[in-house]
């Protein structure tokens, strides 16, 4: 062992210690606030950037701009404070997102932290939000365990339902259509071998069985698969009238393209994430009509229509038809709760749990910290992706089955 190297170790250690100690020195002065600090960590690079870049980040930016353009965030005394944003890139790594949130809470001491993108990342940071007392409005997280999480982390809010909700709604639609004689009761199903796909497929299997639907093809494929022709051929040969894919955006796009090439025309075509992306409608035009997926909107909701228009004007891209509007609505809820209760995070959290809010979704209220008024199934109709289930909900469009064959 060399003394010189020792010295290096010492020097490095001293630097680290100094750094850690200065952490102690910085703290927010309890002066009169001139702004409200919001922070978030989001995947700007890495494999999650694609999803975060469409559902989450543009809505954060849009909302901050909307609020600041209106003079700032309104406090209970009517005073308006501008929003200041601290933004970190978590580089699609769990370790990074944990560290970034810890930094926001303890180093930057922001007033509120917005949730990261993705089920896994929201779970990774949930203990931190809880420990530091921040409300966590987790939108881009689909999980059946939300009721448990709410017990564990009292200030967590889960806004996008769970796999069972979507699977049951789909099973009900298929069972009805099968009874009506529109389709046979056979389903071919594929799913991506990742959190989302597995959650849905494990929920779908029992739901289909219960609804009397027979699964004739049921396979899982790895993330990053680019060629779906073997699966499409198998599904096509299986005699099923329904093809279900719990897929990710690149897969959803590829499946659509390859189904057209293979002239594969299931009467019901249900695809996963990406179906509700505006680019999907744009790329596929009339061929998108009749294709189903998760989410949807009420085409007659003027608030929502206005939101979509503004989103496109401000961020340059149209919002997707599933998580985007809910992300924006979650921010409006937070904004309204702050207006009612101020910057006291405890009171704001309580208000989020119990209050009723007017958002782009209409009147919004959480049930046991979960948003339950969601569109479980949607369908492309007349160039829009509209909600069709639950069919008894106000603003539901009527489902159109079977879908037309591909036009070339």
């Amino acid at each position: 062992m060399k003394t010189f190297q020792r010295r290096h170790v010492l020097r490095t250690t001293a630097a680290v210690l100094a750094l850690a100690v200065t952490d102690l020195g910085t703290f927010a002065l309890a002066q009169d606030k001139t702004s409200v600090r919001f922070g978030y960590a989001i995947s700007k690079t890495g494999p999650n950037a694609g999803g975060a870049g469409i559902t989450t980040l543009p809505n954060y930016q849009l909302w901050v701009k909307d609020v600041n353009d209106a003079g700032g965030l309104e406090m209970p005394d009517g005073k308006k404070l501008p929003i200041e944003v601290i933004e970190y890139d978590d580089r699609s790594s769990s370790e990074e997102v944990v560290r970034a949130v810890e930094r926001l809470a303890t180093q930057d001491q922001v007033d509120f932290i917005l949730a990261p993108w993705g089920t896994g990342f929201n779970l990774a940071v949930a203990p931190l939000f809880d420990r530091y007392g921040y409300p966590q409005l987790a939108v881009s997280a689909v999980t059946d365990k939300a009721p448990d999480f709410v017990q564990r982390w009292k200030k967590s809010y889960w806004m996008l339902g769970g796999g069972h909700d979507y699977a049951k709604a789909l099973a009900a639609i298929l069972a009805d259509a099968s009874k009506a004689g529109t389709i046979n009761n056979k389903v071919a199903m594929i799913s991506v071998a990742d959190g989302f796909g597995i959650d849905l497929v494990t929920a779908a299997r029992p739901a289909f069985e219960e609804a009397g639907i027979e699964l004739v093809y049921d396979k899982t494929y790895p993330v990053g698969t680019s060629d779906f022709s073997p699966m499409i051929n198998e599904a096509s040969a299986s005699g099923a009238d329904t093809f279900v894919a719990f897929s990710y955006p690149p897969d959803t796009f590829a499946l659509t393209q390859q189904s057209q090439v293979a002239n594969f025309n299931p009467k019901v075509l249900y695809l996963g994430v990406g179906t509700g992306f505006p680019i999907y409608g744009k790329n596929n035009g009339d061929n998108a009509t009749g294709i189903m997926s998760l989410g949807g909107i009420d085409p007659n909701n003027q608030e929502n229509a206005a939101y979509r228009k503004r989103h496109e004007e401000v961020t340059g891209v149209a919002p997707d038809y599933w998580g985007s509007v809910i992300t924006y609505a979650s921010l409006q809820m937070l904004q309204e709760a702050i207006k009612r209760k101020g910057l006291d995070r405890e009171a704001v959290s309580a208000e989020l749990s119990t209050g009723t809010f007017q958002t782009v979704l209409g009147e919004t209220k959480l049930e046991e910290n979960q948003l339950r008024k969601l569109w479980w199934t949607g369908q492309w109709q007349n160039g829009q992706f509209v909600g069709v289930a639950p069919s008894d909900r106000d603003g539901a469009s009527k489902i159109v089955l079977p879908r037309q064959a591909w036009t070339k």
Partner: protein, 290 residues
């Protein structure tokens, strides 16, 4: 079913081979381990997308713009970044480490620029997504184009390398960069040419792939890794090796998906790759001395 699986496999493999050939030139002849290779592919994909979506130029014409642009980019990158590294490298290992570090940096730069310009969104468009009937199987024209290009370019390059004086010089540089100058070969020029050609191939691959595959500013790494696997499997610097390794991978994936389980396709890819390396540590067509 067998014919269908065979054809789908070949078409998929064509994409892999197309992507890998440029890298095998860059690494095999110019001796630069280019980790930014996938970013060059993605840049070309974005170029094709912009030309098609904003200027209405169809991607086949886009190919004629992107390939020379890729050549130029490769030429400049080699001249500015790589030549100093080659000049100062005292042996193969130190050039390898230097080029890995430098192109790792280049990877981030290109990716960062793409992120700033295009954002992180999924990008996709449809072009030539029409069925072509091949022996009773419907194959997408855009994917078929990738296979045809892989075969034509692969065959052409192979002829070029083995049948022309210029190609022989390139191969000499690959085998013995130190001795090549003794027989009057300009090593620097040859290596730069190979690197630029690799860039042109990457760009061509990017344009074709963009017609059917969804891409984002950050998905280059996936292509680099797939290409690396094909290159290593086929033997470094060997065009025919890359071509056959690509086709083998495509066939394996499709057959596993059809007859075993689609969930095991990627596992099978890596499995076969590892098996081939254990069987032939220098790749299918690799020279034992490597």
């Amino acid at each position: 079913m067998l014919v269908t699986a065979l054809l789908s496999g070949l078409v998929l493999g064509g994409t892999y081979a197309l992507v890998a050939m440029g890298l095998t030139l860059q690494y095999g002849i110019a001796r630069i381990m280019n980790l930014a290779y996938g970013e060059m592919i993605i840049s070309a994909a974005f170029l094709a997308y912009v030309l098609y979506a904003d200027a209405g130029i169809n991607p086949v014409v886009g190919l004629l713009i992107a390939a020379p642009a890729g050549f130029l980019l490769g030429y400049v990158v080699y001249g500015v970044m790589m030549r100093p590294l080659v000049a100062r490298a005292k042996d193969k290992a130190s050039l390898e480490i230097d080029s890995i570090l430098a192109t790792f940096g280049l990877l981030f730069v290109i990716q960062g620029v793409l992120l700033v310009i295009f954002g992180a969104n999924f990008t996709s468009y449809n072009y030539l997504n029409v069925a072509v009937d091949v022996f009773g199987t419907n194959i997408a024209a855009n994917r078929l184009l990738a296979l045809v290009m892989a075969l034509v370019l692969g065959g052409g390059l192979y002829m070029l390398l083995t049948r022309t004086l210029w190609g022989t010089a390139l191969r000499a540089v690959a085998v013995a960069p130190a001795s090549a100058p003794l027989v009057g070969i300009n090593v620097d020029k040859a290596a730069r040419m190979a690197f630029a050609l690799g860039g042109a191939l990457a760009a061509a691959g990017g344009v074709v792939i963009s017609m059917y595959q969804t891409f984002t500013a950050t998905s280059g790494v996936v292509f680099t890794m797939k290409a690396l696997i094909v290159v290593i499997m086929g033997g470094v610097g060997n065009i025919l090796g890359a071509l056959s390794a690509g086709l083998i991978l495509g066939l394996v994936e499709t057959f596993v998906a059809t007859y075993i389980d689609p969930g095991l396709t990627l596992a099978a890819t890596y499995g076969i790759f590892l098996a081939i390396l254990l069987w032939r540590p220098a790749g299918l067509f690799g020279r034992a001395s490597r």
